[in-house]
């Protein structure tokens, strides 16, 4: 704990927008009672120690409360004075909140020799009638007032620190106060000058660490996008990291640069805007990362949340930032819950990150301390978790891509094997041998058909998808070859087939081969392919005519069916279904696939 003793005075001059110095709240009631008196007007004599201010209105007292209730006073109303009396022996204890866990305490016995005064006003500060410091230039109009810096630590000269009581007087004006509220507040605390300076100097460290980490996330995302994987999620995550870094920087900015007090309004505005963009990017990232359907609707919802909070949120701007964070985190839970329900890979770390963020916002009871730098580190944790999830997904996708390459190579070999499939090839050659000897002319036609089939298969072997027209030609050529071999009349009917539609090669050829093996069809029966183009993909129904052969049955995972499924997975990963069953006319295979994005369910 920083052992500085202070008198905390919240001269709440409105529902204004001055952030509290985090953790500057007194720990106990102030005894004896200290009264804060206020007077509109200007008279240099009012700084005097013995000036009679008993007729000045009391705008607040310590009165047993750490934060005295204060009278309402107008902003931008002119020059005003405030006076109070203080004794060193009555100074309250002091604790610096969360920072006490991070920063060393004061040395015991360090002198109380400074007043810390953050405020959106220009002022002169008097100690027992002597000017000890000023912030800007107090003026009686907007033109004559020069805004002072937001945070000031005034050193009380050693010779003035005798036994009390002492009188503190402040002459102030706030014509450049640019928040819409008509009241402002200031926070007066006393403590050791050196400790206070150290404390103030250390305060930007945490948000700058947060900014650095977030920026690092952005750089990592950019590198991954540039060198590894050109996926939009990395761009969004990088932007989110960048915006988080900007948010941390805006927090740290207060201690990095002695802003004139009117800048505070714009800084809070920038923070609010940054938070809105962060929330939107977070929802966008989650929606893409976990392939949430109706993405546009979710994003529109995020915009609505931002607008509603912006318009209907609390008038305190710093509180509105927190409300926005709450609203966006809570909103992000909806698509995440859906993704968790759908068992999307990597959803749990993301969900944990959002819950941690939401939990930490809910824990922030004191709105004045909500912008403490440590609190927003949770946003950094959230961004890091999201990046981690993204990285995991990239790794999984790359593994899948490698497997897909292997599968593609295997599929090519499988297709080529269909050319060389011993049972088909050697039986066909045996039949050809017989035809050559018995019917040389017919043998030439037989060989022509066989050549056509082999040529088609060879051409298709290296392709992942072929036009349906080519597939149908291949099937019909195969049926011609089989018909020559077996003497059976075989045909293929294609209904509603859009011949330019792309299908995996030899998909229906394999179903025909299976049909010939497992179905006992009457002579002249026809295979039937019914195709239907759906809004998001294709639907096929393939009928192998005839009865199931009694001894064989349909094996659930025959070689042909494995080939078909592997081809579908290769071309439409995770977005296809295949169902089979016996129907009145034969055996029906229904295949559906979606042409949608990766990860959507079939």
């Amino acid at each position: 704990m920083m052992r500085a003793r202070c008198l905390s005075f919240l001269a709440l001059l409105g529902a204004g927008a001055l952030p509290a110095a985090a953790g500057d709240a007194p720990a106990e009631a102030i005894e004896p009672r200290v009264e804060f008196r206020f007077k509109l007007g200007d008279d240099p004599r009012w700084s005097a120690r013995d000036w009679d201010d008993s007729d000045w209105p009391v705008i607040g007292t310590t009165d047993g409360r750490p934060r005295p209730r204060l009278e309402v006073l107008p902003a931008r109303a002119g020059v005003f004075w405030m006076r109070y009396r203080v004794e060193r022996s009555t100074l309250p204890g002091y604790h610096p909140g969360v920072a006490s866990y991070l920063w060393p305490r004061d040395e015991p016995g360090a002198p109380i020799n400074s007043i810390f005064l953050p405020g959106t006003l220009s002022y002169e500060l008097y100690w027992d009638g002597r000017l000890i410091g000023r912030a800007g230039v107090v003026g009686n109009s907007r033109e004559t007032e020069i805004p002072g810096p937001l945070d000031n630590t005034m050193l009380i000269p050693e010779e003035l620190l005798g036994p009390g009581p002492h009188v503190v007087a402040m002459r102030a004006s706030n014509y450049h106060y640019n928040f819409p509220a008509d009241r402002v507040w200031v926070n007066l605390t006393m403590g050791n000058y050196t400790s206070r300076l150290k404390y103030e100097a250390r305060r930007p460290i945490i948000p700058m660490v947060g900014a650095s980490c977030s920026l690092l996330v952005a750089v990592i995302c950019a590198s991954l996008f540039w060198f590894v994987d050109r996926r939009q999620e990395l761009v969004i995550c990088g932007l989110l990291g960048f915006m988080t870094a900007l948010f941390f920087t805006l927090i740290a900015w207060r201690w990095l640069h002695q802003d004139p007090y009117p800048w505070l309004y714009y800084r809070y505005g920038a923070m609010l805007g940054t938070m809105a963009v962060m929330g939107y990017l977070m929802v966008w990232l989650l929606a893409r990362q976990f392939a949430i359907p109706h993405r546009a609707m979710w994003l529109l919802g995020a915009v609505v949340v931002v607008v509603v909070v912006w318009l209907a949120g609390p008038s305190f701007q710093q509180t509105r930032i927190v409300w926005l964070a709450r609203a966006m985190l809570a909103y992000a839970l909806l698509p995440l819950a859906w993704a968790a329900w759908q068992r999307r890979a990597g959803v749990w770390p993301a969900l944990a990150g959002v819950l941690i963020g939401l939990g930490s916002v809910q824990q922030a009871e004191d709105m004045r301390t909500i912008l403490a730098p440590t609190f927003f580190l949770f946003f950094g944790a959230l961004v890091v978790l999201l990046l981690g999830t993204l990285g995991w997904q990239i790794q999984a996708d790359r593994r899948q891509a490698r497997e897909a390459k292997l599968t593609a190579a295997r599929m090519e070999i499988e297709l080529l094997k269909k050319n060389l499939q011993p049972h088909f090839l050697l039986n066909t050659l045996t039949a050809v041998s017989e035809v050559i000897e018995q019917d040389p002319k017919g043998a030439v036609n037989f060989i022509d058909d066989l050549s056509d089939e082999f040529r088609s298969l060879a051409q298709m072997s290296g392709e992942r998808l072929v036009p349906l027209q080519r597939e149908l030609e291949l099937c019909r050529t195969h049926l011609k070859v089989i018909a020559r071999r077996t003497g059976r009349r075989l045909d293929l009917q294609a209904i509603g087939a859009e011949e330019s539609a792309l299908v995996p090669p030899a998909l229906f050829l394999t179903l025909i081969e299976n049909g010939l093996v497992y179905q006992q069809a009457d002579d002249g029966a026809a295979f039937r392919l019914t195709a239907r183009t759906a809004a998001d993909g294709m639907n096929f129904s393939f009928l192998s005519p005839g009865r199931l052969r009694p001894l064989a049955g349909r094996p659930p995972g025959g070689t042909g069916l494995r080939y078909v499924k592997a081809r579908l997975e290769e071309s439409f990963p995770g977005r296809w279904t295949l169902t089979q069953g016996e129907v009145a006319q034969g055996w029906e295979t229904i295949i559906r696939w979606q042409s949608g994005p990766r990860g959507a369910t079939a």
Binding site: L426, N427, E434
Partner: protein, 234 residues
Amino acid sequence: MKVALIEDEPLVARRLERFCREVLGAGLEKLHAATSFDQASAWLAENPVDVVLLDLNLDGQDGMELLKRSVASSFHTIIVSANTDRALEAFEFGVLDFVPKPFTRDRLAQAFARVRGPVARSGSATRNLAVRKAGRIELVAVDQVLFVQGAGNYSELVLADGRRELHDKTLEKLEALLPEGFERTHKSYLVRRDAIKALHASEGSHYELELKNGTCLPVGRTRYKELRERLTGE
């Protein structure tokens, strides 16, 4: 010779039939063509044959099941198949020959020669003998067989553990299938050579051999000398 062929492709069946007629000529007593094993079985039940030409890839049927059913029968089985990768397995089950597709007349003639030859051993590949038992087919490891005793149109396999199993094939047909390690010691016996302990000659040209398990089996008078030479290596 009586032949049945089981082939579901008409052109191939036609070719087999043509070659059978050309190779066997007048020796072909009967030829029956069927497109499935079940179809053929019904006919075979009424019409015993010497050899069946069998395609292992009949439409939709389990080739191994067909093979087991075929080799358990009384006739010899010659496989005519495109699946040469199953040839070794087929021989282990006791087929007489495996003719790969596409085939020539000469190759088929070679297969028939094994059927017609006096004791045409198909080699030492046979590892199992399929026996019918209670309506199903069981495999008996050749290594377990001590000796085979002829019983008319059947044979009786006597196993090392004392069990006896009936086989539908004649002793002659089994002799053609079993490895070289089996000796025809008698018109009614085929004996595993390494199971023989001693060869005894009694008065009156009565010969017998003693197995290591103590069983004594008769030895044919005409086979004694040759057997003794083989056992003693002289």
